[in-house]
Symmetry: C2
């Protein structure tokens, strides 16, 4: 993101704070040993009538995927820990309203390499749970309790 000026970064951070989302979710993945994946996303929203603005943002950021939803809203979406980490490192100094989300995602991303076993992965999922409180999340999501149960870690407290 070194191609962007400070002013461009400040503008984009302001727009993200106003009408964007910094999110991390637990998603089910049948092909994964640990059954779940932690997915990181930065999303910019806009009415499809002003799609040009998301194209402009995509050109500025030189990354992200555009999507026209069928409800008249379009999205520019940055997915994956590498892309999201680069974005957050560049924009964190300018983000204000969603700074706690930015800090949380960076913390989770940093712990990813040490979460190859079920118990450490579950610990990471417990960190993911915190995003729901920060993001006024209303949709049903997979939380750490689901992961604990499906990875057979819920009898942890039942041991003699």
């Amino acid at each position: 993101m070194k191609h962007l000026t400070e002013i461009e970064k400040a503008y984009i951070a302001g727009f993200l704070d106003g009408d964007g989302s910094i999110n991390v979710q637990i998603v089910r993945r049948k092909d994964y040993i640990l059954k779940f994946q932690i997915r990181f996303t930065i999303t910019f929203f806009q009415k499809t009538t002003r799609y040009w603005f998301l194209v402009f943002l995509q050109k500025k950021l030189k990354t992200g995927t555009l999507k026209k939803r069928n409800d008249g809203v379009s999205e520019l979406c940055l997915v994956g820990w590498q892309t999201v980490k680069l974005f957050l490192l560049a924009f964190k100094p300018y983000i204000r309203l969603k700074r706690r989300q930015a800090v949380l995602l960076l913390k989770i991303i940093d712990k990813l390499p040490q979460s190859k076993d079920p118990q450490s992965f579950l610990n990471l999922c417990e960190l993911v749970d915190q995003i729901a409180f920060l993001n006024d999340s209303k949709k049903r999501i997979i939380d750490s309790a689901v992961v604990r149960s499906e990875l057979g870690l819920d009898n942890y407290f039942k041991s003699p």
Copy 2:
């Protein structure tokens, strides 16, 4: 607005583009000779749980009135042509998504002094009508047709 850095202005403009409003409305005023007033507003919105952010914006801008609405959303509102003009002149270079609104309001504000007679006031109200198209306005508003009718200018085309 000279106390703000370029980075602060860019951030605030980004936030306004994302979750704010640049608006001009025709409002009824019984105490006005021309029966109506043209009202200019810049509004920043945020969930009342994050009221601190609007207080932060108010401190930065050194202007605006805070309001807690009863639907869980709060507003920081800049009202009046003087305040709005100062704001728009300072922020127009950074505003992108709502730049046409900014340009329109400045145009209307500049024509205010020459709109003391009914016909020029009506011409100005016709400019105000354009904001509805830019702002995805859904609420019923007083448009220039209402002003034309109530100021007795609607028989203009009926003259022999």
